[in-house]
């Protein structure tokens, strides 16, 4: 049972990859990529968790209380915002691809460039 978080992270990675590979629409592909990104967040936070510990904010608990690992939370925090911007860039590129090739199907775009 304690393997469940890691199993969910691995499942999200594989399912997202399947979505990316089998996608027929560039926009659908980009959201499947965000599922793959979510798997890394789940994995990072699952690693840093400590049973019975509190959130690492000492605003109302005395300093020195047992807290979960704050380093992985710092990594995940910046990661979430930055990957949203990268998703925006990918969306713009998908729009550009549609304008140039007239289609958003990845299979057809590959065959057009030969």
């Amino acid at each position: 049972m304690s393997f469940l978080p890691y199993a969910v992270a691995a499942w999200l990675l594989l399912v997202g990859l399947y979505g990316v590979i089998s996608s027929r629409n560039l926009l659908h592909l980009i959201l499947c990529l965000s599922v793959v990104q979510a798997s890394t967040y789940v994995l990072l936070l699952a690693i840093g968790y400590r049973t019975g510990a509190k959130a690492p904010v000492f605003a109302d608990i005395p300093p020195g209380t047992h807290v979960v690992d704050p380093v992985v939370q710092s990594l995940t925090l910046t990661d979430v915002v930055v990957e949203a911007t990268v998703t925006a860039l990918l969306l713009a590129l998908a729009l550009q691809a549609h304008k140039r090739f007239g289609t958003v199907d990845p299979d057809e775009i590959v065959s057009l460039t030969g």
Partner: protein, 86 residues
């Protein structure tokens, strides 16, 4: 690991599968918003309030809004060039 964490994890796994399985981009945008909320709940249950705040803001405002605007622009481009075979 308590029941709340286990159920949040299972919901996240189901949500991720739903995002991939849903092929129509418009519906997928809404499902992705719900997936972002489920992820935020999971982060709260893992005692990570900063990360949960980030995920709420990005997953419900950032990504779905950009996605829907891009989708609308795509439909418009498609209407402008009807001679290209879809």
């Amino acid at each position: 690991m308590n029941v709340l964490q286990a159920s949040a994890l299972i919901l996240v796994a189901l949500g991720g599968t739903a995002v991939v399985v849903c092929r129509d981009p418009l519906r997928q945008a809404i499902v992705a918003g719900v997936f972002g909320l489920l992820l935020a709940i999971l982060f709260f249950v893992f005692q990570a309030p900063d990360v949960a705040l980030s995920e709420i803001v990005i997953g419900t405002v950032g990504v779905p809004v950009m996605f829907l605007l891009a989708l609308a622009k795509l439909h418009e481009q498609r209407d402008d060039t009807p001679e290209i075979d879809q």
